[in-house]
């Protein structure tokens, strides 16, 4: 499980053009297409992030695609159960490279509140199955958390951060 997608990503293209790559990455980072994919509570906060108030479109990531073949960002927003895990890995493998993963919420990071002795049904952290780029803690995280994750992802793709870190007032 999980091998196909990861393999493609580490290998990369055969010929690389440094300057062209830089431009393409800038374009990629500012037009991320996430996959419409809801698991649990965090999915509602993801929807809230896409709506008028938080408006994920400001950062170019509003085109939610129901098909994995058209998406390049997978937001794991909720608890991953053992029954759901094979489906998630399949979806991840169906996405074309380059692709990124945001683990949103404590469940996706480590199993969150549902880890206890003798648990029989959840995966304790999606990073055991697919590579994760950005982790967003919270139960559930606020939409601002998801927006900040997008900035982090942009930083990871392009190497620079376009939007300044807001001043802390407390």
């Amino acid at each position: 499980m999980g091998k196909g997608g990861f393999y493609l990503e580490t290998k990369g293209p055969i010929i690389k053009f440094a300057i062209a790559e830089k431009f393409i990455n800038l374009a990629r980072a500012n037009s991320i297409w996430p996959m419409t994919f809801g698991l649990a509570c965090c999915a509602i906060e993801m929807m809230a992030a896409a709506m008028a108030r938080f408006d994920i479109a400001r950062f170019g990531a509003e085109v939610f695609r129901p098909s994995p073949r058209q998406a390049d960002l997978m937001i794991i927003n909720g608890t991953v159960t053992k029954k759901m895990a094979p489906t998630i890995v399949t979806l991840f493998e169906q996405m074309p490279s380059p692709k990124w993963v945001i683990a949103m919420g404590n469940c996706a990071i480590s199993g969150g509140p549902f880890v206890f002795e003798g648990q029989y049904n959840i995966i304790e952290g999606i990073d055991k199955l697919i590579p994760v780029d950005v982790y967003v803690p919270g139960c559930p995280p606020r939409p601002e958390g998801l927006l900040e994750a997008l900035m982090k992802l942009e930083e990871k793709i392009t190497g620079t951060r376009r939007f300044p870190i807001p001043e802390q007032k407390w």
């Binding site: 698991l39 509602i44 159960t81 029989y120």
Partner: protein, 524 residues
């Protein structure tokens, strides 16, 4: 009602042990001890009287397992608990799924979690659990899965079907509102049969309850139903309060009513947006979310979180509300009342919308007791059944409100009822704010470690989706011996195979959307 049922059972069913119980203490009126030989007769008796199967669950007492059936009546409150003891070694019981359709799923659930074999059950395959499970999770001792049951794991294989094809609706599908999977057998555009597959978000809440104290379990119920978090929180808290005989101050009761109703409106608002989005109209989604954000702001101010509120505590609240909350709520009521006109123009009077939902997914009134559905789904068929009226909790008995009902039980009725319910919720909030008394907001001297007396209790509240039941068995320790959640979406979804049969697939999507499903609630 209770008296007549008691006498009827005494007269017609000979040799049945029946006793009256205190409703205030136990939450049910009559208790029946049944045997394997007469359980079918008892269930048939209740079916004949028009009762519905409220819940069917199992408790492991180590020496024996006990199947617990709850029957209730939509017309007049009369809850009956029927207990059936089965041996813990190779447990088996007769199936009642021929009488009550919903029992089909309840029995499958009990089979996979406790290993109880139901004789003559048509399809005892696993509904919730994954393929590699090696024991029955809710048994107190570790019992490995038997060889017979191992064959039933993941046994769903679409048979060769030459005239048509199968479609897997989900688990990743935008219109299933989460991770529900429905295997649909198609004949062209028409559905031949639909079979939901659950368990893609089974998060072991019932098992967790047995591992934690009552207080530690507080954050879990809001995560079962994240849209109606406060109603679930309220269900848990009121049940434990009833079990431990804690009295809650009047001010807390009113604040509970106000916040629970605010939560109901936010849930319905999200549903309106999502339902219309399912049918292809994305604009209302943006508007309803905008209105919903106002409620989230108000509740965040007092509860501290945006979605999974855990605001109620045993004996009261986490903290008191201030004037800012009251002002914001009053302002919101005014704001939302102004928006209803816009929703009416945008959605309710939209010809395309009306044509997509009118006369689709009709649920007949006489079918309802077989499925045990509740909430807007049952009210759409014309039965004014609402737990807030039949078994008032919090401050609902001190506030006047009506129950909206539909006429034919189609998708349009379910839509209209939710819109009307939002208006009624606003009235409830307004009246509750007016009557809000001063005083303490939580009971004094509630111990940190609750140790309820021995016994069981069944308590219900009305969540935005319908009747939520909590059944707790206590053994005098600080952790529940068994905590069972009867969830509304589960029994509502059970009607889907019936309603979808023979429909166009695009109409079935509308029907599926009209239930207002929350998947973590179904899977628990």
């Amino acid at each position: 009602m209770v008296k007549t049922v008691f006498d009827d059972i005494k007269n017609t069913l000979k040799g049945v042990e029946i006793s009256e119980t205190s409703y205030d203490e136990r939450g049910y009126h009559l208790a029946i001890e049944s045997q394997k030989a007469n359980i079918i007769n008892i269930v048939e008796f209740f079916d004949g009287k028009g009762f519905y199967l409220e819940d069917l669950c199992c408790v492991d007492y180590k020496d024996y397992l006990e199947l617990v059936y709850f029957f209730n009546n939509h017309k007049e409150l009369c809850r009956v608990k029927v207990a059936l003891k089965v041996e813990s070694d190779k447990p088996a019981a007769p199936t009642i799924s021929r009488i009550y359709t919903i029992a089909n799923w309840y029995e499958r659930e009990i089979h996979e979690f406790f290993g109880v074999y139901f004789e003559n059950h048509t399809n005892l395959t696993y509904l919730f659990l994954h393929d590699e499970i090696d024991c029955y999770p809710l048994r107190k001792d570790r019992v490995p899965v038997t060889e017979d049951d191992r064959r039933l794991l993941n046994s769903f294989k679409p048979e060769e079907y030459e005239d048509g094809f199968f479609i897997n609706l989900g688990p990743q599908h935008p219109s299933t509102h989460g991770v529900l999977r429905v295997v649909v057998k198609m004949d062209g555009e028409y559905i031949v049969s639909a079979e939901p597959v659950l368990g893609y978000l089974h998060r072991m809440h019932e098992k967790m309850a047995e591992n934690r104290s009552y207080l530690q379990f507080l954050p879990n119920p809001p995560r079962m139903d994240y849209l109606g978090a406060l109603n679930y929180n309220l269900g848990h808290v009121t049940t434990v309060e009833k079990l431990c005989s804690i009295t809650v101050p009047e001010r807390a009761q009113y604040i509970r009513t106000i916040t629970a109703e605010l939560n109901r409106i936010s849930s319905h608002l999200l549903w309106v947006g999502a339902f219309v989005a399912d049918l292809g109209g994305l604009t209302p989604f943006l508007y309803t979310f905008q209105d919903r954000e106002h409620i989230l702001d108000i509740l965040e101010g007092i509860a501290g979180s945006r979605l999974t509120y855990c605001y109620f505590r045993f004996g009261g609240l986490y903290n008191d509300v201030d004037d800012a909350f009251i002002d914001a709520t009053k302002q919101f009521i005014k704001h939302l009342r102004g928006r209803f006109g816009m929703y009416e123009k945008l959605v309710t009077k939209n010809v395309i919308f009306i044509n997509r939902v009118k006369g689709i997914g009709i649920l007949e009134q006489d079918k309802v007791p077989k499925y045990g559905c509740s909430g807007p789904v049952i009210r759409s068929t014309g039965i004014p059944f609402d737990i807030r009226k039949t078994e008032p909790y919090a401050a609902y008995d001190r506030i006047g409100f009506e129950i909206p009902t539909g006429t034919i039980g189609d998708n349009l009725d379910r839509y209209m009822i939710r819109i009307r319910e939002m208006e009624i919720s606003l009235n409830i909030i307004e009246e509750a704010i007016e009557k809000l008394p001063s005083g303490p907001f939580k009971a004094e001297k509630v111990p940190k470690k609750l140790k309820p007396p021995k016994g069981d209790i069944y308590h219900t509240v009305e969540s935005p989706r319908g009747e939520l039941g909590v059944y707790i068995v206590s053994d005098e320790t600080d952790t529940p011996y068994r905590m069972r959640w009867r969830v509304p979406s589960y029994s509502n979804l059970m009607t889907f195979p019936y309603l979808a049969k023979g429909e166009l697939i695009s109409d079935a999507i509308a029907t599926l959307g009209s239930y207002d499903l929350v998947i973590p609630e179904i899977d628990r």
